[in-house]
């Protein structure tokens, strides 16, 4: 079992079916349990052995670039694709062989998939009609659902007469009115403009917290994932690469891919040198860096040093830096980019170009073309094996 296939388990030993003292940690309480799922399309491997456990009531995001398999995994949970091997359980029951209409899982599609010939009310009432819910209760629950997504006064409009944001809410309401145990969302906000997207992100989170339903959210937008999720699961090339809370994934990326994908990072190729007390020396393009090693840091050979731009401080050349900043690099400030509340500075240090992000006030001290001191602590770095290297 390769180290790059992380089993994101909530429970330490899920195979042992002994009832744990903490009931919420027992396997049967898991909303979704996926084991070693594989899926190929012709010669293309979409999923290469993924395992995932999702707690009840969790908001979990599947994050990754196009083609990483996140949508395929979602569709397998929903029942629209069948996996080649592996099992899928929802609330403890195996659902592999069940068609989508028999699984207690609903999906919000990227294209919303509203029924164009029906009104908003009819769209939302659809699952209730299929379930033969009596008319009065139906009307009530549709109203409830519309309240939940804060959409009023559009019941009688045809689905084709709605704006993007409204369609999105109707799709959401329709998927929630049946009170599913799990809701799957396939990049539902992709078609909305920026401002709307941001407000909908908070909306979705609020709705999820109100209902307590388990949400599985697919996106390629890392900021979106960071905003809404309890837990982020990063996928790449059909594999699950890392799973953890937004903070864990941001501060402690397991590898270069995660480091690069989530947030901005300076990624410097280098070679591990010797130790220097508690710290390790790395030669990156001629510049010597002192880094704080972690379990993932290679003992020797090639490595990649990852530094978040906001961790780099800029001082005028010759100034004193704090004791905690073990790395003080002489460089030249090549370019300043004004971003409103932040300023991004590109600093050349020998062969390297570092990107630092500073709040406006700090940036007033330095000017383009001037020599500067780029400072950051050893603890502000993470040293990772280069992607693709066997561990």
């Amino acid at each position: 079992m390769g180290a790059d296939r992380r089993r994101v388990s909530v429970v330490a030993e899920p195979a042992a079916a002994t009832p744990a003292a903490d009931p919420s940690a027992a396997p049967a309480a898991e909303a979704i349990a996926i084991e070693e799922v594989r899926k190929r399309f012709g010669s293309f491997t979409a999923l290469d052995g993924c395992s995932l456990h999702v707690r009840r009531g969790e908001f979990i995001s599947l994050l990754g670039p196009s083609g990483c398999g996140k949508t395929t995994l979602l569709r397998i949970i929903g029942g629209f694709e069948t996996q080649d091997s592996g099992t899928v359980r929802i609330h403890g029951e195996r659902v592999d062989q069940l068609p989508p209409n028999k699984r207690n899982v609903n999906t919000v599609f990227q294209s919303y998939a509203l029924f164009p010939h029906k009104t908003v009310f009819e769209n939302i009432a659809f699952p209730l009609v299929i379930a033969r819910v009596p008319k009065r209760e139906r009307t009530e629950r549709v109203r409830e659902a519309l309240e939940l997504v804060q959409l009023r006064g559009v019941e009688e409009r045809k689905a084709t007469q709605l704006s993007g944001g409204q369609s999105q809410r109707v799709a959401l309401a329709r998927a929630l009115v049946g009170r599913p145990e799990v809701l799957l969302l396939d990049e539902p906000l992709a078609a909305l403009d920026l401002k709307l997207r941001k407000s909908m992100q908070l909306e979705l989170r609020r709705i999820q917290e109100t209902l307590g339903t388990t949400f599985v959210y697919v996106t390629h937008d890392q900021e979106e994932a960071l905003t809404m999720s309890d837990r982020i699961v990063l996928m790449n090339g059909g594999r699950i690469v890392q799973g953890g809370s937004p903070r864990e994934v941001y501060d402690e990326p397991a590898n270069v891919f995660v480091s690069d994908f989530v947030g901005e990072a300076n990624l410097l190729d280098g070679v591990v040198g010797g130790r220097d007390g508690d710290l390790v020396r790395v030669d990156a393009g001629g510049v010597e860096l002192k880094v704080a090693p972690t379990a993932a840091t290679p003992a020797a050979g090639p490595a990649v040093v990852s530094i978040r731009p906001e961790r780099i401080e800029l001082r005028r050349a010759g100034e004193e830096a704090g004791a905690a900043r073990e790395n003080r690099l002489d460089g030249t400030l090549e370019r300043i980019v004004f971003l409103g509340n932040l300023v991004r500075c590109h600093v050349r240090v020998g062969e390297l170009v570092l990107t630092a992000e500073l709040p406006r006030e700090r940036a007033e001290a330095v000017a383009e073309g001037e020599p500067v001191l780029a400072c950051f602590g050893a603890a502000d770095t993470r040293v990772l094996p280069p992607d693709g290297a066997p561990t």
Partner: protein, 260 residues
Amino acid sequence: MRRPPILSWLFVAALLLFLFAPVVCVVLFSFNASPSAGLPIKGLTLSWYREIFDRAEYADALRNSLQVALASAAFSVVAGTAAAIALVKLPRKVTAALAGFFVLPMVVPALFIAVALLSFFTRINFELSLQAVIVGHILVTLPLVVALIGARMQNLDLSMLEAARDLGASGPQAFVKVLLPLIAPAIVSATLLSIATSADEFIISLFVNGGDQTVPVVIFGGLRTGVTPAINALASTILAATVLATAVAGRLVSLRDVAR
């Protein structure tokens, strides 16, 4: 201010005149009071139309054509719609192959199909009759149905069907409640055009009918003895039916998509 496209309009008008001239002729002369089927026009009368229904030969032919048109349209529309729906769900290569397969009857010249059917039916001792004509007409209308419904399916977001299943509908339920209402106009259109095509079909009907003739065949027979106004009237009747059917069908479907 751009020059108004006079030349373009002239050209288009001339072409349309050319295309519709024979039809206009036939209809005009079906009302001609003179017993000749050409000029001069001596007066207008509906007597020829009455004659159609009086003459057993013509009345029978009308009935036969109607039967054949309805029967062949029924089969074509049901089988063709089912096939068109399945085609969008099948893998690309299979779809391409089958699409070519279904276009075949439209590409092979009708005379060819007619004589091939004749040979085949005599070989397997299948009696030449209206049933045989129905078979021939199904062959000719099936590609039309598959093309029309197929074009409509291309314009639909198929995740709608997945959504329906996701929300609890079984396969048949998703079809009836979601897909059917959306393709209904196309189905009606296809039915009307199938009927129009069948009413018009000549050569296959000529070869494989066993004595029960359809209208075009009767008209053809009548031509041997020269065009009479009654023939014109009969032809005009069918013409009215097919043109009406086509007009209604056209309103139901967007022509641009179908042109594919």
